[in-house]
Symmetry: C2
Subunit: 175 residues, 2 copies
């Protein structure tokens, strides 16, 4: 399939978000046909998400994952693209912790108005967090987290496709 790096090239999609998000899902599937290691797959997935959104000129400043540390009922920082981030988030705290505890996508137009927002980066204005759930046990495995420097950057279309990505990750990765 040529260079792996080319899978991060979303420039052909002509700025249409839905086409880019479809390509994101297809590229994730291609990368995980023979690979079920969660660290490996989430590392490449964070790159796909980052380059997908950046190619659409959406000014995201962070894209990646927090995963569940069962021992302590907390989320731990997983693979991501962007600046250094908070290492631990208690279940139920912050936007990520709420998504993990409720298993409901959190779509936040303005993080400063979210009562439980934990700020890792003062530049972040809006955020989407999507839970990744084990299909069998129904336990939360991880969350997808994307931050943007603009208010109201995410909409139902992002939710729809990122939830599909979350489902794919749950199916393709052994945590």
């Amino acid at each position: 399939m040529g260079y792996h790096a080319n899978l991060a090239d979303f420039s052909d999609v002509d700025d249409r978000k839905e086409e880019a998000l479809k390509m994101l899902l297809e590229n994730y599937k291609a990368l995980t046909i023979d690979q079920n290691n969660w660290v490996c797959n989430l590392s490449n997935a964070s790159s796909l998400i980052w380059h997908c959104y950046r190619s659409l000129s959406i000014d995201i400043n962070w894209a990646g994952f927090y995963f569940v540390n069962d021992d302590k009922k907390e989320l731990l920082l997983g693979p991501f693209q962007g600046k250094v981030a908070c290492q631990t988030i208690p279940f139920g705290k912050g936007i990520c912790g709420v998504a993990a505890a409720t298993q409901e996508t959190q779509l936040v137009e303005d993080v400063d108005k979210a009562p439980h927002h934990i700020a890792c980066d003062g530049d972040t204005k809006s955020e989407i967090v999507v839970p990744i759930v084990n299909n069998g046990t129904k336990r939360t495995l991880a969350v997808i987290d994307i931050d943007c420097r603009d208010f109201n950057a995410f909409e139902d279309l992002d939710k729809e496709y990122l939830e599909q990505l979350g489902k794919l990750i749950g199916e393709t990765c052994i945590f």
Copy 2:
């Protein structure tokens, strides 16, 4: 300590590589005082390396880790910043695989002249790979891998400080 994201700000170091690399080590230590999870710590470390080198106007296109999958005697893709990358590298193959097998830093001025180079991205011109070794068992745990779009981007100074980072990672992370 303010926003975690601020630890990725190397702009005050006035373009002096040694100061930036010292700050990289100090920021890694600050982030890992109470944290020994290897996925969490390598995720933040990849961000520190990326922003350190980019702040020096060194045109790196990839910074991150491959970790050892003991079952298969291979390296698996770990946390990184940059474009999508190859998921697996056999021990002894490619520049990463040689670093893992020999436990010697590989400093490659021109990847096209390296007989065993595995190309994940055609833009890469030079590369440095530093092994991370368990201090007790002396087994390879992972490698630090940095790629640059310019020839001959890395020198003995990079080797010296990145080997210190590799040693710190070996001491601060449970794999």
